[in-house]
């Protein structure tokens, strides 16, 4: 008897599942009073991943989940997304008409999204940091924007310039391609101080992706890609002012003004000024803990939005002056041993860009885009007795065509690009001139089947005048196992030309000499990544857990070997293995309404062959732990943010060949950093107060032979932790909304 019941249950069970409503219908657009089918439109049940795409007649057929809302979200690129309530329309023949979007950029924000969230529908694993998140660390610039990001680490490069560097997958920031609005930027000479060139309040959002990226942007993304979106001229607030001051004496002001001239033209002026003029030496090593900084950064951008033609252009100017070194060094007097050790970096940077987009009228989802950018970067600097002067002229052009094959599930982007870099560098008596130009063509195919598989496969072929032909294949895939589990895979190749001096200015602030033992080749690597994301319903909220593994293997890498000889840094091509393995687990949950919690842990295994021996790469934390908590009161009147980061031990460069007082331990200690911020929102004003490094953790004696900076063993580059202690700041924001 029991058997029959069981069999009956087994037979009936699928029916109870199927009993869930089925809905049939079509998606159309109106052209001159006639309704035309839309092929490949996405039809998804609200709040689920249960969805389908329309066929060649625009028809669809979908089995609904019972538990989820009986509503459909219908979307199609360049059309306005519509939500259909099936209780009103019925389930039989749902006729849906979508309206063409007037503006491709139009994005509708539905509800409060957590500050940093992974984008569910993206094929590549992309974490987006939005404006709300950026405001959690009110201070300053790009370097503070990653405080709550588990994937990106920020560290100091040396103890005298205040320069900060990012790390992704345990690999130096150089291997991460930086884009501003999808154009490669902040390259070459800009690298040492680039995080300071992007003011926090200019940014609308940041997208971080690990692994090799799209081939559309060139071959450079080896470990990952960071794209910065600035505030647009025609969106959001008309006027924005931010004033900031810290107890150390740093002051900063930001002003954003946006005008809409008419329906088609709009413009924005973004301005930033910062000043830090008070000398501090809390660790009594006669050196400034933080360099003095003056910066002016101005950006004017324009946007034209026609029916089919879109255009954006703008110009940016940046001037920065950094002064560091010993407390009593006087930059006006001759830079010699008598005057003391000084550091000065003067930067002028000019940038102009032009983007043109044309949407084809007679073919849906098809457009032509043309991106152009010119940059001139000039730096005049000295580090003690080392003088380093350099300039760079770069042009980047990328012409793209985007369309689809058969229906819009099969899309492609293809195009040609040209990049030119002219470098002129002078270090003391040596001059390097490098003229590099790269011409390339690419093709990228995107398959999107909303329900299960999404694929981006791209190839590009470039000709580099210095290194010949370079072939870059890349593949990204996302598979939805079901609506709660998804798997992402990425595989690809990347290349990069090293700029040894500009990328290692920290070596200039040592007594060491740089010696090139061989002609350097282009750096090249393969990267493989696997990401598994699970969404687990707990109560009404969803817990998301993302686990990823990334492996990067270098075929060639420029090695900086400082472990052979105390007085010389050798630069040569990799001879042997070099790899990085990085495993990360990140969990996000909202246990109470408006209280968000994030917990992440990452383990890094990064090894390189230095001097014939496979060694752990210096300055990479063995592991990183991150806890971040954020609470917003009802109607966003108050916000409280807290984050703790635990940095595991790092291998430090070998110093055993130095006399005893100038030796350092083999590994750095484990330490934690605590940051917090409280924001009070008023109708037009926000007031924020916060603290960084609240436990006042500092690295002792960051500089070797600080008492004799012109001695043989002087070295300010062995920095693994914060040099200045607790920092408390206060600021106000004033906004006039649109």
């Amino acid at each position: 008897m029991k058997k029959y019941v069981l069999i009956a249950c087994l037979f009936l069970w699928p029916f109870t599942q199927i009993y869930a409503q089925q809905v049939k219908g079509g998606v159309f657009e109106m052209i001159g009073g006639e309704s035309n089918p839309l092929i490949g439109a996405n039809v998804v049940q609200l709040k689920t991943l249960n969805g389908t795409t329309t066929d060649a007649e625009g028809h669809f057929n979908l089995n609904l989940e019972r538990k989820a809302p009986q509503k459909l979200v219908v979307s199609y690129v360049s059309y306005q997304t519509d939500t259909i309530n099936l209780n009103e329309t019925g389930y039989g023949h749902v006729h849906i008409t979508l309206n063409k979007l007037k503006d491709l950029d139009e994005v509708e924000v539905v509800s409060r999204k957590s500050g940093s969230h992974s984008l569910r529908t993206e094929t590549r694993g992309i974490t987006s940091i939005n404006e709300g998140e950026l405001q959690k660390a009110a201070c300053c610039n790009l370097s503070e924007s990653f405080e709550n990001s588990a994937s990106v680490d920020v560290s100091y490069a040396d103890a005298v310039t205040g320069a900060k560097q990012i790390q992704l997958l345990g690999l130096a920031g150089l291997y991460t391609q930086m884009l501003t609005e999808n154009i490669p930027n902040l390259r070459g000479l800009a690298v040492p101080y680039r995080l300071g060139y992007v003011p926090g309040t200019w940014m609308e959002s940041i997208q971080v992706s690990k692994g090799t990226s799209s081939v559309v942007n060139g071959y450079e993304a080896m470990a990952g890609q960071i794209n910065i979106e600035y505030k647009k001229p025609d969106e959001k607030d008309k006027f924005f002012l931010n004033l900031y001051g810290s107890q150390m004496g740093k002051v900063e002001g930001n002003l954003n003004i946006r005008f809409k001239l008419n329906e088609k033209w709009s413009t924005a002026i973004l301005a930033h000024a910062e000043y830090f003029g008070i000398k501090h030496d809390n660790n009594d090593d006669s050196f400034l803990d933080d360099p003095l900084i003056e910066q002016l950064n101005l950006f004017n951008r324009w946007k034209y939005k026609g029916d089919n033609l879109r255009m954006q252009f703008g110009i940016q100017y940046l001037k920065e002056n950094r002064k560091g070194g010993q407390m009593d060094f006087n930059p006006e007097e001759p830079h010699d041993a008598e005057n003391g050790y000084g550091v000065g970096v003067k930067t002028d940077r000019y940038l102009g860009f032009l983007k043109i987009g044309y949407i084809l009228r007679n073919r849906a989802n098809s457009s032509i885009g043309f991106q152009n950018q010119v940059v001139y970067h000039d730096v005049i600097s000295f580090y003690g007795l080392n003088n380093y002067n350099a300039n760079q002229f770069s042009y980047y052009g990328n012409l793209m065509f985007q369309s689809y094959i058969n229906d819009t599930r099969h899309q492609y982007t293809t195009g040609v690009s040209f990049a030119l870099d002219d470098y002129n560098q002078q270090l003391n008596d040596t001059t390097w001139i490098r003229n590099e130009h790269v011409s390339g063509a690419f093709f990228q195919y995107t398959y999107s089947n909303y329900k299960s598989l999404n694929l981006i496969a791209g190839v590009r072929l470039d000709y580099n005048n210095l290194f010949g032909w370079l072939f870059t294949p890349r593949l990204h895939a996302k598979y939805n196992i079901n609506e709660h589990n998804m798997l992402r895979l990425s595989l690809g190749r990347g290349f990069r030309t090293a700029n040894v001096i500009a990328e290692n200015t920290s070596i200039l602030a040592t007594s060491k000499q740089i010696v090139f033992t061989k002609e350097l080749n282009i750096e090249s690597s393969w990267n493989f990544g696997l990401t598994y994301t699970a969404y687990i319903d707990i109560g009404v909220k969803e817990l998301s857990i993302t686990t990823d593994f990334f492996h990067t293997r270098f075929n060639n890498q420029v090695i900086m070997d400082r472990e052979e000889n105390p007085f010389i840094v050798y630069i040569y091509n990799l001879d042997g293995k070099s790899y990085s393995n990085s495993i990360q687990v990140e969990a996000q949950y909202e246990p109470v309404n408006r209280f968000e919690l994030k917990l992440a842990f990452r383990y890094n295994d990064v090894k390189t062959t230095i001097g014939g021996e496979l060694k752990e790469k210096p300055f990479v934390s063995k592991y990183i732990g991150l806890l971040s908590a954020s609470y917003q009161t009802n109607l966003k009147k108050w916000q409280f943010d807290l984050n703790v980061q635990v940095n595991g031990d790092q291998r430090l460069p070998y110093t055993g060949f130095n006399p005893e007082p100038y030796q350092r331990p083999e590994r750095s200690p484990v330490y934690a950093i605590l940051n917090t911020q409280i924001t009070k929102y008023f109708k037009r004003w926000d007031v924020y107060i916060g603290g960084e490094n609240l436990t006042n953790y500092r690295q002792d004696h960051p500089i070797l032979q600080a008492n004799e900076p012109f001695g043989d063993y002087f070295d300010s580059s062995i920095v693994w932790g914060p040099i200045s202690g607790i920092k408390v700041y206060l600021g106000i924001r004033f906004t006039i909304r649109k």
Partner: protein, 117 residues
């Protein structure tokens, strides 16, 4: 260091509990008001401004019907005050017409004679 961290967390927790405790006692009422809102910008503008009115606990504009649902503390405000606040942002509130000056300051797409979009 651990102690310091503990104290900071405790203070934060207390602050949160305090806020919640205050909310429970007073009498709460809900009102639905028909507005002349047009678009998503209008929704953001109305919700932001009304949320800073005294006594307002929650505010949401329905995108389809343009009805604004406001939850408020009866001790601190009333339906009329909320409606006046809406008119001052530049929108009609049921029978009350929008403040003309505020209405004219709105972008063209948000004014009453604009096409719904």
């Amino acid at each position: 260091m651990k102690l310091k961290l503990g104290i900071i967390i405790a203070i934060l927790c207390m602050a949160i509990m305090q806020v919640n405790a205050q909310e429970i006692k007073t009498t709460i009422d809900t009102v639905k008001i028909q507005t002349s809102a047009k678009c998503n910008d209008c929704k953001e503008r109305l919700e932001h401004n009304i949320s800073f009115e005294k006594g307002v606990k929650s505010v949401e504009l329905d995108n389809e019907t343009k009805i604004l649902t406001v939850v408020y503390k009866t001790a601190k405000t009333n339906e009329e005050k909320i409606k006046i606040a809406i008119t001052k942002v530049g929108y009609d509130a049921d029978e009350m017409p929008a403040d003309q000056k505020a209405h004219d300051r709105l972008p063209a797409c948000c004014q009453k004679d604009a096409d719904p979009h």
